[in-house]
């Protein structure tokens, strides 16, 4: 699935930050993301351009070279980028306005708020005084994309340093004015004060008439979490009012003068070739532009209704390929790996080095347990489908597009239209979610092609059916586990193979002397890609279900069994916190009810969930009544927004756990609508309780993904306790549980 991309580099600044300026964060392996390649060239930014964009004042920028210098032992920037790679920049204007420029995208994870908070913290200024310019490729430094739970560990820590450097600079400017030592000055509430002489300076007064830039010195550090005043608190969502009034404009809400509405002709099946097309009837309609370019066929019309009618008037002939994707033998098909072992295939990946001998470990076991788990394809189904508005003006293409990776969309446009970098601008308004499903946006190219043909701006909104069919899916997978345990509950052997769903969180963190873990890439019948937490959900489901079975085999309580085999203090802490809040071991479930728990880690944060389910004996219907989740991601930036992420992840996770699955046959997605594809709704929501463990002594890590990984096994384990039935396929109960 790897694709070659040309440089995504451009804009007046030609700035480029490298995501590898990964201060305080673990690396993410490129192979875990199918859409991943860095720009080919890195050019020196022209400092004057900062002021062209933002006006006079002062600019602090973080260059990746500095960040990397802070991380001895980290590998260098992608593509060996030079010292001038800009990660983020901050401008303080003559009016005192603080503006931060970052390539990250807001997709509901509330980073517009949390990133504002960390800058507010360093500038000792209210959050409302900080403005974030995000994801406009002409204005912000290059960014690979918003995924992998990297915004908090990378961008937030970069911005803390940027803010701290700006604070220091403001103090120096004020010191020059007052002729006193900077240490005698205080910065608070958006101004610098010299108390002894009772003089204060607004930020604007200090930056007036200046056009100066600074890069951050290597020794600049952010304020320690223990001293936070603005960060670490539950500041409300900064743009919440625009959301509840309907005023926020997503990509689909952008309107331009003379704009047309576009529609694209889709093939009859997933694998079909266009043989011929007749556009005459479509073109004959008033105001309609219809085009064919290579395999692309589309129309643009003054209204959506007219565009739909014009599309329906196109006569096309398709040649269907003989081998159409079908899920009839899906899991057997996925067991035919492209390459066994580590790191091959799009969704292979890693697995730690083997330890000991699984054979000997199994021989030493009192109980052996082998089982196969399966994972279905599921859809991200972001409520805002792929959308774009494209405009060509004076040879420059501007596209508003919802995506998690605006620079990737830009590079796709550069390639598709053979344009110089500086002739393409992608603007990504805060987007209607992504969950890993918007690493690109084909609607951008399609809208741009139609706009080029029409000579007018074009808006294109994918239908729900298009989104369900032509986007990409969370990979399906097969997982085989073979394990051994002694009578006293000591694990002796652990062998784990994942076919196709990937290598995230594939290694067991339990203490086992004999281990073999491998991820295998497989030929996927469907287009597959990243999904919130990647394969960590599948791998935790198999591992934590299997651990539950092993506990049962030796007659131990599942909590006790896990704690016996688990040394990692952070994982033990969340497991014990969740169990305590849940009242684990304090009571027995009612008839038809069950309790289950699971623990896990991914992206350097840790999670444990305890669940109570009720299974209806007659209908087999599963209702999750209560879910208690304990979560730890280092120092918490915004407790309420963190809780919101955890709650949302648990509820989203219930869908994949219990009923979500994409069905396909004859090259067609069989359930490409919300009428046929069931997602969690109000009635599915359990009572949720969340325990946050705030580790102010640790760097902040991401939280958008990891909270999703424990709910499926916790629910499966609870169903097992309620019914005695072990469910090893996700989704576990699309039609209820047969007891």
């Amino acid at each position: 699935m790897k694709r070659n991309h040309t440089a995504a580099q451009s804009g007046p600044l030609a700035p480029r930050a490298d995501c590898d300026s990964r201060s305080e964060s673990p690396t993410i392996e490129p192979e875990r993301y199918e859409f991943f390649e860095e720009p080919k060239y890195v050019f020196e930014p022209d400092r004057r351009d900062f002021f062209k964009i933002a006006g006079a004042g002062i600019v602090v920028c973080l260059v990746a070279g500095d960040a990397l210098a802070q991380q001895p032992g980290q590998r260098g920037g992608r593509g060996g980028g030079g010292p001038q790679e800009i990660g983020a920049w901050l401008h303080i204007g003559e009016d005192g306005q603080v503006t931060v420029y970052t390539g990250k995208v807001e997709v509901g994870q509330n980073i517009r708020t949390s990133l504002s908070q960390v800058v507010a913290e360093e500038l000792r200024s209210p959050v409302a005084s900080i403005r974030l310019v995000m994801a406009d490729t002409d204005l912000v430094p290059f960014d690979n994309g918003t995924f992998g739970s990297q915004t908090t560990p990378q961008m937030a820590s970069q911005l803390r340093r940027v803010g701290a450097a700006a604070r220091q600079w403001l103090l120096e400017l004020a010191a020059a004015e007052t002729k006193v030592d900077p240490e005698k000055l205080v910065i608070a509430d958006g101004k610098v004060t010299h108390r002894a002489s009772n003089r204060s300076f607004s930020f604007g007064a200090l930056t007036k008439g200046k056009k100066q830039t600074k890069t951050i010195a290597a020794d600049v550090r952010g304020t320690p979490a223990a001293d936070w005043v603005y960060a670490g608190t539950s500041i409300p969502k900064v743009d919440g009012r625009a959301m509840v009034t309907g005023k926020h404009r997503y990509s689909a809400d952008i309107s331009l003068p003379g704009m047309l509405h576009g529609k694209v002709l889709r093939p009859e099946t997933l694998k079909a070739k266009l043989v011929s097309v007749n556009l005459k009837d479509a073109e004959a309609r008033p105001g309609v532009v219809a085009i064919r370019d290579d395999t692309f066929v589309g129309v643009a019309a003054p209204t959506l209704f007219e565009a739909e009618e014009a599309l329906a008037a196109i006569k096309a002939e398709w040649e269907l390929e003989a081998d159409q994707p079908s899920d009839k033998n899906l899991f057997a098909d996925l067991k035919k790996p492209q390459g066994a072992g580590q790191g091959r295939g799009g969704f292979g990946g890693r697995g730690g080095q083997p330890r000991g001998s699984v054979e000997q470990g199994l021989a030493a076991a009192d109980h052996k347990l082998a089982a196969t788990y399966t994972i279905a394809y599921i859809a991200h189904a972001p409520l805002e489908p792929r959308t774009a508005v494209a405009e060509w003006k004076d040879g420059k293409l501007t596209v508003w597009a919802g995506t998690q990776a605006p620079f990737r969309v830009k590079s796709d446009l550069v390639r598709a239209f053979n344009l110089p970098q500086e002739k393409v601008r992608v603007i990504t308004p805060d987007t209607g979610s992504g969950y890993g499903g918007k690493h690109q946006n084909e609607a951008a190219i399609e809208a741009a092609r139609l706009a080029k043909a029409a000579g007018k701006p074009v808006k294109l909104i994918w239908t729900r059916e298009e989104e369900f069919t032509w986007a990409y899916f969370r990979p399906a997978g097969v997982i085989e586990v073979n394990a051994g345990v002694k009578k006293d509950g000591t694990l002796t052997a652990w062998e784990f193979h994942n076919y196709n769903s990937g290598g995230s969180a594939i290694d067991t963190r339990y203490d086992v002397p004999n281990v073999k873990v491998e991820a295998h890439g497989s030929p996927s019948p469907l287009r597959q890609g990243s999904y919130r937490a990647l394969a960590a959900t599948a791998n935790h489901f198999a591992r934590e279900s299997h651990m539950d079975d092993l506990a049962h085999a030796v007659g131990m309580d599942p909590l006790e069994f896990r704690l016996k085999n688990l040394k990692e203090p952070r994982m033990r802490a969340v497991l014990e916190a969740a169990a305590k809040q849940f009242g684990w071991g304090q009571s027995k479930p009612a008839t038809g009810h069950g309790f289950g728990l699971a623990v896990g880690t991914e992206k350097n944060s840790v999670v444990a969930t305890c669940a109570e389910v009720a299974v209806n004996r007659d209908s087999g219907n599963v209702q999750v009544l209560r879910a208690v989740t304990a979560f730890e991601c280092g120092a918490i930036l915004n407790p309420d927004h963190l809780k919101n992420q955890i709650e949302g992840a648990v509820i989203m996770g219930l869908g994949g756990a219990l009923f979500e699955a994409i069905h396909f046959d004859g090259g067609k997605i069989q359930n490409a609508s919300f009428g046929k594809y069931r997602v969690p709704r109000f009635s599915d929501a359990p009572v949720l309780e969340t325990v946050l463990l705030d580790r102010k002594d640790m760097p902040s890590t991401g939280a958008g993904e990891t909270p999703i990984v424990a709910i499926a096994p916790a629910v499966g384990n609870a169903i097992f306790q309620a019914t005695g039935v072990r469910l090893r396929s996700m989704p576990m109960a699309p039609k209820g549980v047969k007891t």
Binding site: G108, H248, P385, G432, F682, S683, A685
Partner: protein, 159 residues
């Protein structure tokens, strides 16, 4: 194709010229620039396009504009009055009953329709009334809490 010339939206008469079979959602968004109502599915299953028609929650993606003449249409943009938010909008902000916000206008309109006819909705009432509104980010418990908070505020004379 008959053309519709006028709609009553958010208390105002709005001049339009729209083929009667066009969806209300498209006319609101594309002709009147009221983009708070969202497209999510086009089949009435997600609720992102919910508006009030004569006070009742309707899916504007499944409603032809021809069926709306002479009726009072209220969109998310019409809830705020004199700079004051509807208590349910306030409650959504209070409990942060959103993440990406794309479902939020439809959620609020469905919630307002419920509160208009039920001043003290129970949890089952809320679930029943709002089951057709989808939040893929999973903020349902917060939305439920917001509806309850708004019910209390409305009783206290919030509006």
């Amino acid at each position: 194709m008959a053309a519709i010339a006028e709609l009553l939206v958010n208390g105002s008469k709005r001049r339009i010229s729209a083929a009667e079979e066009r969806t209300l959602l498209s006319v609101l968004r594309d002709d009147l620039d009221l983009t708070g109502s969202k497209y999510g599915c086009g089949e009435g299953k997600c609720g992102a396009c919910t508006v009030l028609i004569d006070g009742v929650a309707k899916r504007s993606c499944r409603t032809s504009v021809g069926a709306c003449t002479g009726k009072q249409i209220t969109t998310i943009e019409g809830l705020e009055r004199d700079g004051k938010l509807h208590p349910l909008q306030d409650a959504f902000l209070n409990v942060c009953a959103m993440q990406c916000g794309y479902c939020t206008p439809g959620m609020i309109m469905s919630g307002v329709a419920l509160l208009n006819k039920n001043t003290n909705p129970t949890l089952p009432d809320i679930v029943q009334a709002m089951e057709g509104n989808m939040c893929r980010c999973g903020t349902y418990p917060r939305i439920t809490l917001a509806v309850r908070q708004a019910a209390v505020a409305l009783k206290g004379g919030g509006r």
